[in-house]
Subunit: 113 residues, 2 copies
Amino acid sequence: MQVRPLVHPKIEDVTVEGILHALSDPVRAAIFVEIAQGDCAKKCSEFLSIHERQIPKSTLSQHFKILREAGLIHSERNGVEMRNRTRCKELQKRFPGLVKAILNAHRIQQEGR
Amino acid sequence: MQVRPLVHPKIEDVTVEGILHALSDPVRAAIFVEIAQGDCAKKCSEFLSIHERQIPKSTLSQHFKILREAGLIHSERNGVEMRNRTRCKELQKRFPGLVKAILNAHRIQQEGR
DNA sequence: TTCAATAGTTCATAAGTTCCGAACAAAGGA
DNA sequence: TCCTTTGTTCGGAACTTATGAACTATTGAA
């Protein structure tokens, strides 16, 4: 086994399909919402438990990979852990209003429970 | 075999996940864009060919089912064919700006080709 | 009323994707 | 060096999606 380098697409290669697919999963959407809300980068292991659900770490690792390769987050290895932050500013330039509308819709849906 | 009645969720049961999943497929996104643009209801068979691609009709039928059950379109049997229109107005009330931002993002992506 | 044509659905299965435990890698500290 | 922590990779099971063949349902013509 060998650990491959992290893949971050160039902003012009980011697709709507990729973004929608990544955020159509409730766990990934919840992770992204949390990363977007916090003002400092989050590490992966903070999400081993989310919304009263335990996520195995191999699954979590895949979720981060999908968010990263969709262009939604930027991940950086920092010693033994990983710092994740959103690419909202770049995304806002490429697809104005998209990420904001999705986050807003998720908030509306949460509130109606 | 038996043909089951069409399922249209109540607008309050429509989820962001469902919408994003439905529109994360390029064929479904293209179908939805076309239905949204036209000012009259479209029938399914108009999409047997889309973006230079031939879609088998069983596949097309599944795509319409997914769009319908995600709450994105309303389908009505009209004689031998089906009339499909979007539920944009209701969706705009439930998740303001969401559908518009997605359609806009798809347009931006199309233009950059 | 019977037949054929048209539009779309269902079913079975093949192909593809996702989930998750076990083994691994990489970095830091004792 | 060895242990701990954090995250990745691998492989198989579980789930989802795509598609051809067979079907239903409606219409119109003979």
